[in-house]
């Protein structure tokens, strides 16, 4: 009996070990198809391609419409749409880069472009663009931003749209208080003070203190200081005394003219609070336009580009640029590129951006009638492309940018708001990390 049990046990162990080895062997035996190491090929220009939308859900309908138009024009190409929640897009790409299963073409924003490109997953697109009918039809500012975000040597993303920092303000409250539109920083601070009545739970402004707080804080600092470059040689200008002074003035609004709960504000809370309360101004971007429209109606608010200096000088930080990238591992790059070209054509790019409320990358699409009617988008496009506008290019190309601008420094910004850290110390810490990351990056390029 005992012998039989022992024999059975040995057999079970052998089966278990065999299964583990078989699974391991099948896992290791793959050639990495669809992962970053795979070089892919041009393919026949026909058949199936997979497209990952990095802002799935909200943009699903419009992408499906574009795909349907594409499949009508190219009946021998089928596009498989995969919508990925925006917050998880990077982890999905990272997993696929390591484990395989990358798409042929996908949405990759500038904020994650460097991290995806540095893993060798993306196809350089300069050559394809040069031979494409799109050449010369895309906003050069945006193409430059895309190139810079990917590391500067090669173009890894064809921009589809740009966002822009927007100061949303309540026209009804401004009118009642007899205030001018907050077009300059002086007018902005005056309005923030005048619209605040803490006793009645009314505030002039809502500040972003939680997730995503660093970009708006830097935008406010550079925009007021007038410094037009992020780097002075190999040292960042982020802790320049003028930026320190500007940031001190900006964070002084916290609790004085903003709700105290703002210290935890991410964009969701900030937008929800502005849409449902009695707060005068909100600094966000064009992306929340539809939310404000639904909540407040068209006649109660306006969106302006962020304020200028008193003399009209406009300095703003570069905003994330959305775009499409081709993956090196694609087995059908020709078909995938056709899809990129189609999506960037005037008609489709216009359709996409009208739905997204963003600024089209296709310059012909940017002239379309709907933009003239959508005031915030029109003003943002004018500001972005205006001759007098100076854009401070944030270093999206640094592989550590996301870590530095999020995990490392968002808690510090909260400390600044709460008075536990000075704006100077905050910017000095940020500057040290950026200088080090820049030096590391330079060493490898």
């Amino acid at each position: 009996m005992k012998t039989s049990i022992r024999r059975n046990r040995r057999a079970a162990v052998a089966v278990a070990l065999g299964s583990v080895l078989a699974l391991t062997a099948t896992a290791c035996g793959d050639d990495g198809s669809g992962s970053a190491g795979d070089k892919g090929n041009e393919g026949s220009g026909k058949g199936e391609i997979t497209f990952w939308d990095n802002n799935g859900g909200v943009r699903t309908d419009i992408w499906k419409q574009i795909i349907s138009d594409f499949e009508k024009k190219y009946p021998n190409i089928k596009v498989n749409y995969v919508g990925i929640p925006a917050a998880s897009a990077q982890s999905k790409y990272d997993t696929a880069i390591q484990g395989g299963g990358l798409p042929d073409v996908g949405g990759v924003g500038t904020a994650m472009l460097a991290e995806v490109a540095v893993q060798g997953a993306l196809e350089p697109l300069d050559g394809r663009l040069a031979k494409s009918p799109l050449n010369g039809k895309l906003s050069q500012n945006l193409v430059q931003s895309s190139k810079a975000a990917g590391g500067g040597d090669q173009l890894y993303q064809i921009p589809t749209s740009s966002n822009n920092g927007t100061l949303w303000y309540r026209t009804d409250l401004f009118k009642k208080a007899g205030l001018d539109a907050p077009t300059t920083w002086d007018k902005f601070y005056t309005a923030a003070d005048k619209l605040t009545d803490k006793g009645k739970n009314r505030f002039g402004f809502t500040i972003r203190g939680g997730e995503g707080s660093i970009a708006p804080a830097l935008d406010a600092a550079y925009s007021q200081s007038g410094i037009t470059s992020f780097w002075n040689g190999d040292r960042t200008t982020v802790n320049d005394p003028k930026n320190v002074a500007a940031l001190e003035k900006y964070v002084a609004l916290y609790k004085k003219d903003t709700p105290s709960a703002d210290v935890n504000n991410d964009f969701t809370k900030m937008v929800a609070q502005w849409d449902s309360g009695t707060i005068g101004m909100l600094s966000h971007n064009l992306g929340s336009y539809q939310d404000h429209l639904k909540a407040l109606g068209a006649d109660k608010f306006r969106g302006l580009p962020n304020p200028t200096q008193a003399d009209g000088t406009r300095v703003q930080i570069s905003n994330p640029v959305d775009g499409l990238s081709l993956f090196k591992s694609s087995k059908n790059k020709a078909a995938a590129w056709k899809f990129v070209e189609f999506a960037l054509s005037q008609e489709e790019n216009s359709k996409f951006n009208q739905s997204a409320g963003q600024i089209p990358a296709n310059t012909d699409a940017a002239e379309d009638a709907w933009i003239q009617k959508a005031e915030p988008t029109k003003l943002a496009a004018e500001a972005l492309n205006g001759a007098g506008t100076k854009i401070v290019q944030l270093p999206y190309y640094l592989p550590d940018w996301n870590t530095i601008s999020k995990a490392d420094n968002e808690p510090n910004f909260q400390k600044v708001l709460l008075g536990k850290m000075s704006a100077k110390d905050f910017l000095n810490t940020l500057a040290d990390q950026l200088n080090k990351a820049q030096a590391d990056w330079k060493q490898n390029h």
Partner: protein, 295 residues
């Protein structure tokens, strides 16, 4: 010998009963507000977020009212019909139920082995089971992804069910083995004497006694699979195969969020879990306490 028991002296009515020093007051000696006030405050903190979700889900877009009136079900219609929550719901039910069944069956077999057999590496095996609980799922994403890709199981609900089951099994096996140990082995032996083989004895005698444990383990597996986001996001690509947690995330874009739809989606996601807990609450508490204390 007759022992007379002296009658106990009657307590003087005016003299209050003295509690021995250091003893806790009896339930009926505590003023009611000492109990109800903290409970009410706690309940308030728990219920306010739920009320807030209901409020956003039921009031029209743009309303700032603090009561959901006029009431609208537009947000529910939107997420169910336009945002494919019907499909997500169906997929989540499939994943949840399949995980429940697989986890319970395998945990039952493994738990029985742990409870009734002695083998050389049993202690090390138990320790290994416990250690797996410290490994976050995210750490195993890439190897799991590779394995499923090679088995051609990416974009199949089966991959999520297997991954969920594998992650649920260690704790479930430990819990079930605790329950089985509590069932006297002599009951099984008696069944053997009556002519049952081991399996029949287990099925007829032991299994019915494991009901609280099975409910606890099964519900835990279901709820975990129902709420888990990561595996569904990574292993499923086709929109028609995604589950509720992924669907909820797609309601939040990079810079815009429809709070009414998000709240309605949240309620749709929460309802099955609430119903499951309402029905099994009694078994769940009995199950976990029995498995945990006596295991």
């Amino acid at each position: 010998m007759i022992t007379e028991i002296a009658p106990a002296p009657e307590r003087v009515a005016s003299e209050p009963a003295r509690r021995p020093r250091g003893k806790r007051p009896a339930w009926d000696e505590v003023p009611r507000w000492h109990i109800y006030l903290p409970l009410s405050v706690y309940l308030l903190f728990t219920l306010i977020p739920f009320y807030w979700i209901l409020l956003f889900a039921l009031r029209p877009a743009g309303s700032t009212s603090l009561v959901p009136w006029p009431m609208t079900f537009d947000h529910f219609g939107k997420v169910w019909n336009e945002r494919a929550f019907g499909t997500y719901f169906q997929n989540s039910v499939l994943v949840g139920v399949a995980t429940l069944v697989m986890t319970t069956l395998v945990a039952l077999a493994g738990g029985y082995a742990l409870a009734r057999f002695d083998f050389r590496i049993k202690k090390a095996f138990m320790l290994a089971l416990l250690c797996t609980q410290f490994v976050p799922g995210a750490l195993l994403l890439v190897p799991l992804f590779e394995i499923f890709a090679n088995l051609r199981m990416i974009n199949s609900l089966a991959s999520v069910v297997i991954a969920e089951t594998v992650f649920q099994l260690p704790l479930s096996m430990i819990l079930i083995s605790g329950f089985i140990r509590n069932v006297p082995f002599s009951l099984e032996e008696a069944a053997w004497v009556d002519g049952c083989n081991r399996f029949t004895a287990f099925r007829i005698v032991v299994l019915p006694l494991l009901r609280p444990g099975l409910i606890a383990v099964g519900s835990f597996a279901f709820v975990h699979a129902w709420n888990h986001f990561l595996f569904a996001l990574m292993f499923l690509s086709d929109q028609g195969k995604q589950t509720i947690p992924v669907g909820l995330n797609t309601l939040m874009s990079a810079d815009s969020v429809d709070l009414g739809a998000l709240a309605a989606g949240g309620i749709i996601a929460a309802v099955p879990v609430v119903i499951v807990f309402a029905f099994i609450q009694k078994w769940l508490i009995t199950g976990f306490s029995a498995g945990a204390v006596k295991g």
